[in-house]
Symmetry: D2
Subunit: 393 residues, 4 copies
């Protein structure tokens, strides 16, 4: 990753991510990791006082700490040295209006997932991005892990044969108690339908799992049956998700099927995202908590443990790898890979050059697909977990 | 396991299990393990010549190697030193007629799973067992593992709180190719609906997984949606099973839900039975291939690795444990535990005493429940994987 | 393992192994596992009353429960139906006199390890065995595991290249407290130099580890430096062993080296025997508690997980395997493999035929080698852990 | 890690770390991770042309890319906006002269390990640091991992009781072939005694292992016996290291002992640093490749898996943790923790304040201790792996 690109950092702003937030700090580290960005402006909190204190702690120029995202978009667009890109790390319902403001101001957007809180917003956003010549990068960060890139590349190269089965799960236990009722900020908005959207667990992490599965396999979901449930009394959104998946056939092969489980009430799981894919020639298995390993199980041969940076890592993995095998990379490096992919693209645009073909990051199209997945899960669940098709997918 | 029971071995016969069979040898080792049985008679093959050779190899008295199970039941019942129990290790469709013959001859039955090849046979068998004063033991052997007994006991004692989620899976890959079309004997009958029943993978291993889940949790299944599929072209039964489960509520708690996956085409899996149970207070996780370990994940505390024979093994586990922690027991020991449980019961009956309360083995009732599970899966799948109730359950 | 040998069981007796013993029960299960032995006589305890009760529980004919091993050897040798083999499961200091009595009575010996309590006894025993036409089988049972046979075979076939490094460890924690001072029987004799020998931990488990390392690699130990220590106050023998090993050169290659750690005071370890071997072309790793797996690490390729019964198991492993991959075998099966190897040899001798070339069990020669290892460790430790050669090795 | 310190970045320079180097890029990412440093100047290569190209790629002001470290020290010291700290990432033999130049120029030093290439240089450097009021930070980066901080804190709090055993190993396989003879740059200088010092493997990674063991346990090494070997023909330094360790007694307890293994020729190991510590009350186990886990094995209780960011993480771990449990941190985060500790210290000095008591980084004293360890290993090995004391330790 010794970059030969333009080394002038990209001027970056942030909306959300003030004190007490979680993902904002992650985005800032991800942006710093490879030196491609300079963090210069923010509307860090909907509470202006908190926003100011946060900006101060982070060393922002006070004149570039804004009380509202609208003002920030306007002022920054007007500056010669205004930000070139903005990171949106607010609750879901604000993704759309914030993205809209910055896109219309000619500023690239890097936005946390899920895309929006409603499918209607998502579809409007797609149109908006199509109209504006700006990048929209969605931080489905798990697709940035080197071993996930390796897996995607192996599937594409046919090393697994025709894909038959996809098993993906994402259990957590942090919402096993009704902590939103005790004022935990992260839990509060994530369980409030007005801010998080119609899906709770399915939107927060189910969509991550589904994105990862489709990213690696390239499969499109034909239909699904989803049994969403709420185990914690008084909770207003689902906290456990069971889904049976049917994928569209590929090249005349028998269509693949899958199971997806996401939970926020499964005792003992911190962040247990796990993907398994099985094809006619072999399988792969990957566990997010141990991301430097990829099990490859060619049919009829012993299981092989491929390692990031190791002797069987392929070019797709090597491209997003910083340190040799045995020196573990983690969540922040995977997240930073999305930021660095975005940086390569932004720098290409800056230079009036095409975005290199090997650059990959989740787009607004991936985001709307995820919103259709959430929508289908909610619809299915409302129909007693019957089978539904994904809208427009 | 220094037994204080009557040490005169139980006279045992076997139907099926000749050369080329797999599970017959397992039953014989299981019967020998603790010295409770003496193997004396057999109708080891539907092919009399093969039966004779097999009996000879196993050192049976030639006069007690029978050409048919009917003759064997008749002759053995007539001998003073005739067998007291018979092990049935034939293909599924013979379980019912063979069991019937021996039960009617007054001989205890130890029978491989699933109970029968049709639900009708299963229900007839239940009635028959109720009428006869003989034991019927079904070798859902995985319930004999010490750490499974530990898990069952922990659930019963409330150590996991109210059960909310059950995730069970049983992937294999030995049928990834159509080996039944190449004459592999084990594959042949297991993929022939006439011998195996309407369910293929769901009957062969799905029912094991489901039995294990219900054995440990004590939950009853209310309804399910099953998406059975056949990935190998030309195969006549399902080879992959996805099931969403809804359990009956217990004591006013929110009803539990579950996912079950069984597959015989999942590359890289030998015999990957795995059970996870999550309650309001904690979870457990157990993997059959590594059966001496039980993960216990009390909510809010670090994961704990309980070991068979180790410092946190409970009485239920200790009762079926032979050697200390760190000296691994395996599949054969777990299987032998079922045989030894049966032996304790048979010896109690022999002595005119009640069967000790802590004796546990799967019964004909468990068998018919398993058949209802298979039946429901097949019915659901025929209705486009819609939700169905279990009959009479 | 469908044996084509003579199926008349070998008549077996046992010295030691009464109530309260551990390893006697293991030997009895091992003898039963494959049906090659019939247990008929015993001198089960040095306490005749305990011996009688134990014999009764085990269903022995009371006339064949003896008060002393001397009487047993004499009487059994005089019977037409006397035992053909005896299992010796006493404390170490009795191995020699008991073995002597039975060998001189023309009875094969299966003896627990280490061979004796003194090197002098061991050397005398070697001579005795050489003079008598009887088998002497030493139950270094870990060499019976299928994956260990696989590893030995891979080394012999050169799949690892020239062996360079051997890392073996055997940590336990059951003697972390001075339980021998509280009357724990197993601990008592194992920490009594008069019964166990000069080495404590090094004799009890260090010798197992060393045997395993040399069994797999075929290497001979040239010299060693051993730092034996006793961490528990008042203990009379070592409870922790650190050894640096230098092996004799093989075929002009650079001599291999190794480290051996054995401990009975290492908190958290039940029976943590682990072997790693590294050659110029690759390495292997095996953990006794998870014995169905063998890691193979060919240099420059990803790690491969070979499984017992799996697609990369070789003939040496398959020969001692009972059930398919994914159906775990354990400690008792590995132990039983030694008994079955012995049975094949005894049945061959019975039939006046040569012992098949592929039969492998630890012999009296292996036993005396182990005693020389213990002796060298004790001598080195007495010389401030300086380097010493192995006597006569 | 929402820092409340002065947020003006520290001006940083680097010596070494140009194109083709490995550890320089790691230092740069570590410095960027938390935003505490600004990289402004460098003498990136002993080859001035390569230095210039490297500087250009990294976006340095060309006037601050120097042809020699001497010139850089002089010029930067003269600038008002000169660097406040320098990172030294050269081969070992240059650590001393470079550090000397910058310390004498009043610039803080962050230096890669081992401290120097000779013990004499190391001792001279200690004196120099004592004379100058500048920080010297040695990047024994593994001590920056959160779970290592947790382990250190647990030992200090007595949670393991009195420490008895320390088992540490650091196997790699990247030097299994003589790649230095084929011109691999990293291998070349690491196997050249003039540049790397008298110890090869022992200096490069043995010293990391030994530092980690002593960092966590707080134990001092009394004496050791080291068997260094060179398995690859033609190699000029050791490539495999076996060491028996004896520690100084603590508070009247029985002195602890240990084994250390380091290797660069152990097939299958990428960077297998592993530490196990056993005390009278419990043990811990940590594996660098899976750094977010710490096994804790309290004697008599089941093993517990403590996770970084998880429910049993202590304050010492939390202090150096960025993201929640289940979101893995890795090598770069652990390395960055050393840089951030240094930054806190430098900012405190900048502000004329005392360095906070909880700041921890390896110092020049740790460096000279490591050199004494290397020296002792080399001396012992020259005396046929006999026991030697550490000089002045």
């Amino acid at each position: 990753m010794y970059m030969s690109y333009d080394n002038t950092p990209i001027r970056l702003g942030m909306v959300g991510g003030g004190q007490g937030a979680f993902i904002g700090a992650v985005h800032r580290i991800a942006a710093r990791m490879d030196g491609h960005y300079q963090f210069l402006a923010g509307a860090l909190s909907s509470d202006p006082a908190r926003g100011r204190v946060s900006a101060d702690e982070l060393g922002l120029d006070p004149t570039r700490s804004y009380a509202s995202f609208q003002e920030m978009a306007k002022q920054e667009a007007a500056r010669v040295d205004g930000i070139e890109a903005v990171a949106i790390v607010t609750p879901n319902h604000l993704h759309y209006p914030v993205a809209k403001a910055f896109l219309e101001a000619g500023i690239h957007v890097i936005c946390d997932k899920p895309l929006t809180s409603t499918l209607a917003d998502a579809e409007a956003l797609v149109k908006l991005v199509e109209q504006r010549d700006r990048l929209f990068v969605l931080t489905h960060n798990y697709s940035g892990y080197p071993m996930i890139r390796q897996a995607q590349s192996m599937v594409a190269a046919g090393e697994l044969g025709a894909i038959q089965l996809v098993q993906v799960e994402y259990p957590q236990d942090w919402l096993a108690h009704p902590i939103e009722q005790a004022g935990q900020k992260q839990a509060e908005w994530r369980t409030d339908p007005a801010r998080t959207g119609a899906g709770g667990c399915v939107g927060d992490i189910g969509t991550h799992a589904w994105h990862l599965a489709t990213f690696v396999t390239g499969l499109e979901t034909a239909s699904l049956a989803a049994d969403l449930d709420t185990f914690v009394a008084g909770r207003r959104v689902d906290d456990n998700v069971h889904v049976m998946l049917r994928f569209k056939p590929v090249a005349g092969e028998h269509p693949a099927k899958g199971l997806l489980w996401a939970s926020q009430v499964a005792a003992g799981h911190e962040n247990g995202l796990k993907l398994r894919v099985y094809g006619t020639k072999g399988g792969i298995e990957w566990v997010q908590a141990d991301p430097n390993y990829l099990w490859f199980t060619p049919l009829g041969e012993p299981r092989r443990l491929i390692t990031r940076g190791g002797n069987a890592a392929n070019a797709a993995a090597a491209r997003v790898t910083r340190v040799p095998g045995g020196h573990p990379e983690g969540y922040l490096e995977g997240f930073a890979n999305i930021y660095t992919e975005a940086a390569i693209a932004i720098k290409a645009l800056r230079a009036g050059q095409p975005i290199p073909a090997d650059v990959q990051f989740p787009t607004v199209q991936d985001g709307v697909a995820g919103m259709r997945f959430i929508d289908a899960c909610v619809r299915s669940s409302q129909q007693n977990a019957g089978w539904v098709k994904l809208v427009n997918d």
